[in-house]
């Protein structure tokens, strides 16, 4: 009664508890009477009221203490909390399990009920130590939410539904992930598997052994569909097609419904009459783009909507949209190219083409908004500008300059404005070749050293520098490094340490200099000019400095510039043309010339003269494949792949491309176009992309032997510039490199670029992902139904689990001592001490 009001009060790690007794009601009744009688006696005495009250109070205290004794108060040592435990519910997310939604939901409710029953057995002080978690397994295994209380887990199970069942069920992956989770837990651990037992990946006994060894039982709740799946069972579109040919989509269905072939802008609908047997369907369409083209096959029936994306590799000639004259376009072989002439005034959508060629047309020839359209289409559609011949006077901006003024400027491979180039030249790669042969001894070497120091003094930290000394052959160089102050100091010390000796053979060093060639390289050749003319010539603008009074023996006009410094010349006073601001004011270089090939790409040499070129400067990341024959090396054909949006490839031919580029130079023309297409070799790979529900599986089979060594890698480039890496592994059963692609959901058709790279060989294959519909549900378990009792019972036996359809999980509480310290001895002693005091208090003031 009274004690119970204070039950649970803690004290020094102990709690008050009242064991109670049937006598306690009587006891408190007696106490009430005793107190009343005590105070009546005290009041009746009428003398010394304070003393009488004290006596009555002491007596009352004694009586109350005795009544408390009857309630059996104890101090209970706080029971240690148990270790608790963890239950992981592993739920089958496959189509075969969820086909009968009611049965699956009932199984989940049963699971929730079993969790609740288990929770009810757990002592209150241990309940907080128990955690639950929910994990799904389908195509893969994944956790749903984090850890939660068993109460929440029970509620979650009763209400949880898998909205998009998956075509397969990888139980092995689910169990492996669950085991990894539980291994990090203390206390009791168990798995509740809710499944029909049909699994797409075989379970090995070793995994079940792991559960047994860890003492983790797998309890199972089962449910299964009563019949095989209805609706769409299987579908196939064929692995490869030619552009424009009929594509037949075959499928297998069960039951009545409406089959829809969705290609984004068009739909083909077929009604399927009811059938109790598997039935074949056929739909046909045409595909108008190259690459991996996807369509969506949907099936609507009384059971709902199903769908599956199907991909086929469409090969065929590259579709060129040509603006301007481009007379060579008509000569392109139709087997590989499908050129279409476009009217600049009413241009078609460039995104429908593989490459857009703009020949000698300024942006003003197009509608104003078309430039933006070109920029948007550039991810996946190559852009090729041909400047054409001289427009107006040479000191007037040319057509390429007009394009530099548009929003396309950032993706163009060249900059045509000389003023910008002069104001802030890009980083330069400086290479100094210096003769240290015996003839350089004495003042000549000192003059050479002063020339080197003069060159070094004009470098910026963003430039690089290398020093290549030579005598009989190449000597130990000063390695190329960024021209920081420390590097320049080291280069000066290196220069001061040079000494003369030996013969003069510059050829090796000139050849070695080729590896330093870049868009903005500059070579310096310092010698006394006392050698036989070398066969090789530097591949960069070269300033040849003579430290004698002799001219160089070679045709210096092919190198760049010659400076006669003399044996004791003052290098600080000489003027080097390369370092002077480019005072060029011409936008066009005449006359006709034969370009020099400088790039690494083969087959680009047209062996044709060019009638002048627009003066331009390649972007730092552009690749210059051919240059003007005479210095300065103005680019003729240059192209670049955008470093941030790698789907963008643009090229520029700075001169006119006449009919001869469709004749004797046709191969070079095709080579240039192929560079910009990105998918030059359509027969290199057989590529398949399969919708596996929630993600896509890529299979790449090499048909042609790789021309360059290297491991095949794959990635998917998206229009926003992002890239998704695809981890490939070789599957010997399929003879293909396999990898999965996760694609974020989109309400519209999405275009992307599949990039396959093997060594230096890169193929960029356009991919069209169809508009997603209901999730794909066809798969290997479509015709499975019922419960796979063999597997279920094997799991239960191997892991010491329970069949929760018949049994519930029993909770075994680890035994613990409950230590009670009874308070009745203290209270009895107190009560009688009070009683004695009360009796003696009567006498205290008696006279």
């Amino acid at each position: 009664m009274i004690c119970a009001r204070f039950q649970g009060i803690g004290f020094a790690g102990q709690q008050l508890d009242c064991l109670g007794s049937a006598a306690e009601v009587w006891a408190w009744g007696l106490v009430a009477l005793i107190i009343a009688a005590s105070f009546v006696l005290g009041w009746r005495a009428r003398r010394k009221p304070a003393l009488r009250l004290l006596t009555a109070a002491l007596f009352s205290l004694a009586a109350m203490a005795l009544a408390l004794v009857i309630e059996q108060p104890v101090l209970r040592q706080s029971a240690a909390e148990g270790e608790g435990g963890t239950i992981v519910v592993l739920l089958d997310a496959s189509e075969s399990f969820w086909r009968d939604g009611d049965a699956a939901s009932a199984a989940l409710s049963r699971g929730g009920q079993r969790v609740a029953q288990f929770q009810a057995q757990i002592p209150a002080q241990d309940a907080a130590q128990w955690q639950g978690a929910l994990r799904l397994f389908g195509q893969n295994s994944r956790a749903i939410g984090g850890e939660t209380s068993l109460a929440n887990l029970s509620v979650t199970l009763r209400n949880y539904r898998v909205a998009a069942p998956e075509p397969t069920s990888d139980l092995r992956a689910g169990l492996m992930a669950t085991l990894a989770t539980l291994r990090s837990k203390t206390g009791q651990r168990m798995v509740m598997l809710i499944s029909d037992g049909w699994t797409s990946a075989a379970l090995d006994d070793a995994l079940l052994d792991d559960f047994r060894t860890e003492g983790i039982p797998i309890h199972i709740v089962t449910a299964g569909a009563a019949a095989p799946a209805a609706g769409l069972i299987a579908a196939d579109i064929g692995p490869e097609h030619r552009l424009g040919e009929w594509v037949i989509l075959r499928g297998t269905v069960l039951g009545a419904g409406e089959a829809v072939l969705d290609q984004g802008e068009s739909q083909i609908v077929t009604q399927i009459t009811d059938s109790r047997h598997l039935r074949a369907i056929r739909l046909s369409t045409r595909l108008s783009n190259r690459g991996l083209q996807g369509v969506r096959l949907g099936f609507t029936s009384d059971l709902g909507q199903q769908g599956k994306s199907l991909f086929t590799l469409v090969r065929g000639p590259a579709r060129l949209l040509v603006f301007g004259a481009a007379p060579w376009a008509d000569a392109l072989p139709t087997a590989r190219w499908q050129p279409e002439r476009g009217d600049p005034a009413a241009p078609p959508d460039p995104a429908a083409y593989d490459l857009v060629v703009i020949d000698a047309l300024a942006p003003s020839a197009f509608p104003a908004d078309y430039i933006e359209t070109l920029l948007a289409a550039a991810d996946g559609t190559g852009l090729f500008w041909i400047n054409g011949g001289l427009r107006g006077a040479v000191d007037q901006p040319q057509i390429i300059s007009d394009w530099n003024e548009t929003v396309l400027n950032p993706i163009l491979p060249v900059d045509s404005d000389p003023r910008i180039f002069v104001q802030e030249p890009p980083p330069r790669d400086i290479v100094i070749m210096v003769d240290v042969s015996g003839s350089m001894g004495g003042t000549r070497l000192g003059s050479a050293q002063s020339a080197i120091n003069a060159i070094l003094s004009q470098l910026r930290p963003r430039d690089t520098v290398a020093i290549l000394p030579f005598a009989d052959g190449a000597l130990r160089p000063f390695a190329q490094a960024a021209a920081s102050p420390a590097t320049l100091d080291a280069a000066r010390r290196y220069t001061a340490g040079l000494s003369a000796g030996g013969g003069t053979a510059p050829a090796d060093t000139i050849r070695d200099s080729a590896k330093f060639v870049s868009n903005y390289c500059a070579f310096f050749f310092i010698s006394d000019a006392d050698f036989e003319p070398p066969q090789a010539a530097p591949q960069c603008f070269t300033t040849a400095i003579s430290v004698s009074d002799s001219h160089f023996p070679m045709d210096i006009s092919k190198w760049g510039e010659e400076i006669l410094l003399g044996e004791s010349g003052n290098a600080g006073a000489i003027s080097m043309r390369y370092f002077k601001p480019d005072e060029r004011t011409e936008f066009f270089r005449q006359p006709r010339f034969r370009p020099v090939m400088t790039g690494a790409e083969p087959g680009l040499d047209g062996n044709t003269d060019v009638e002048g070129i627009a003066t331009s400067y390649p972007r730092a990341d552009a690749k210059v494949e051919s240059v003007h024959a005479d210095p300065p090396p103005d680019p003729v054909f240059v192209w670049r792949r955008d470093s941030s949006r790698t789907g963008i490839v643009t090229g520029a031919f700075l001169g006119p491309m006449g009919a001869e580029w469709g004749g004797q130079s046709l191969a070079a023309t095709e080579a240039m176009l192929n560079l910009l297409l990105g998918w030059p070799d359509q027969d290199k790979y057989l590529i398949r992309l399969s919708d596996i529900g929630g993600s896509y599986r890529l299979a790449v089979t090499e048909i042609k032997q790789a021309t360059t060594p290297g491991t095949l890698s794959a990635s998917m480039l998206w229009p926003d510039g992002s890239a998704t890496g695809i981890s490939l592994h070789f599957d010997p059963r399929l003879g293909a490199n396999m990898g999965d692609v996760i694609v974020s959901r989109s309400e519209t058709t999405r275009r992307a670029m599949l990039v396959l790279q093997q060594g230096a060989d890169i193929q960029r294959i356009p991919v069209t992902f169809p508009r997603p519909g209901p999730d794909s549900i066809s798969g290997s378990e479509r015709l499975d139904h019922g419960i796979n009792l063999n597997l279920i019972s094997h799991i239960i036996e191997s892991s010491n689990g329970l069949a929760l359809d018949q049994q519930e999980i029993r909770f075994y509480d680890p035994p613990m001592v409950v230590k009670n310290s009874p308070l009745y001895p203290f209270l009895l002693a107190f009560a009688f001490a009070m009683l004695a005091l009360a009796v003696w208090s009567r006498e205290l003031k008696i006279r």
Binding site: A22, A23, L30, A62, E83, G187, A234, G238, A280, P825
Partner: protein, 535 residues
Amino acid sequence: MIWAAAVLAISALLMLLWHMQKPRPRRIAISFARFVPPLPQAPAGWSRIALTRPRDLSALLCLLAAVGFGLWALLDAGRNYRAALPDHLGLRVVFDRSGSMAVADGGESRQTRALKQVEAARLVLANAGVGSLCIEMLGVGAAIGPALPLALTGPLPADDMAPLSEGAEPARLLEAARRPANGCALTHVLVITDLPPQPADLGGPLLLWDQIGAAVGNNGLRALALRPSAFGQTTPEIRLEGVNSGRDAPPALVLTGPAGPQNAVIYPDPEAEGRWYAIAVYNGAGEYTARLPAGDGYPGDDRISTRLDMPLALAVDWQLGTLPRPASLAAGGAADPLVTELAQLAPQDLARPLMLTYPGFDSKGAARIGPFRESLALLSALNFDALEVALPAPYPAPLPPGFVPMMTDDQGGVLIAQRADPPGLILPAPRLDLPEPQRSLSLTLFFSGLADLIVTPPRAQAIRWIGPDEAPIPDAWRESLTGRPAGAPADLAVLAGSSATPQQLPFWPWAVLAALAALLAEKLLRLARRREVLQ
């Protein structure tokens, strides 16, 4: 309890003494006149307490009765407490002797900690105040040892409790806990192990699971699987699998085979945390030994050895007349998958992994493909458009038991059928002498099916774990997870806890009630008088 009784007794004495008091001498007012004659002699030797008739006997008796009831309650409560103690305690110690008990953490081995726990349990029993006691011990490694009696004091049989080079599992420990008693009537079973606790009802004795040992990081080898070359496209590989517990996996392991040692890079298993794998080259039949870097928690799982006899290429029992066995496949026997023709099929062959061909492309089949099922491995390389141009004739016989159609023609004829267990496929026969596209189609379909049938995931091989002393360790993998988190220690006080027998309701509260009644009686007696005799 004694002190409480003493307090009660003293209280009673005080109350008695109070009642035994004599009245004080009357106070007398003396007038000055009395000084004139000499005053009488003052009383000497006055005593306040005297053995005399109590002043209020009935009240005193009530109070003494209350004290008496109080003392009775105390005595009854003590008797109740003693009755709750068990008459007998019988303890079975199930002692884990597996290899991981030799793992040291915090300066001492788990076995040393376990022995201390046994000592502590003996001490608890010895101090339990119970007359009948017995203790027995079962050592458990890979198997359960004999039950050994343990004395309450004295040295423990260290030899019978030393770790063994064996792996143990929780189920074995529980089995030992459940074994019938061997002369010692069991009230408690104490399992001392480094394995995590297992909930269990032993049907009588209380189970205490004492998980000892702090986490110690360890890497261990778990399995070795072999994948043969698939049609010469891949090299035969050895896949080694292991676990890492409480620490990162090492960068590499060393596999020594007939061609010498090779380093295999270790990769974390993307499917499950705490697992890893390494791929090494299979160099033909011979003895292979894999070794992890030493120096982790449990050394018994760092080395495995096995003898591998598999040929470098996949083997098939090739009985096909229309196509010679590819050079990349080895000639197999009755234990290998059978590739044969329908005409040569013997009834007993149906029980084997089987690829059965029929002369499908010899004659023209139906016009169109009918219903089919999806199979990535079997049909993904097949071009349905090409197949439909030259559709083969259907299988000319009823399907054998277990086979289900994978593809039919639009007339219902079965073109391809598959069986799950044992693996089986029925396909049109491959023919090199057919015109195109039948030739390519028959070969594509046949080799896709053959790959699906015989290229299986890596097959696990029997392995032996070798300890540092070169002795084999059965099931050493069971000991690998020494990095698991430590559990809470068992409460050994349970061993001396109250009897499970339900207690009777105590009487003593009624005695206290009687004391209260006596106190009330004392009050009522006094109230019944018109005026108090005593103040």
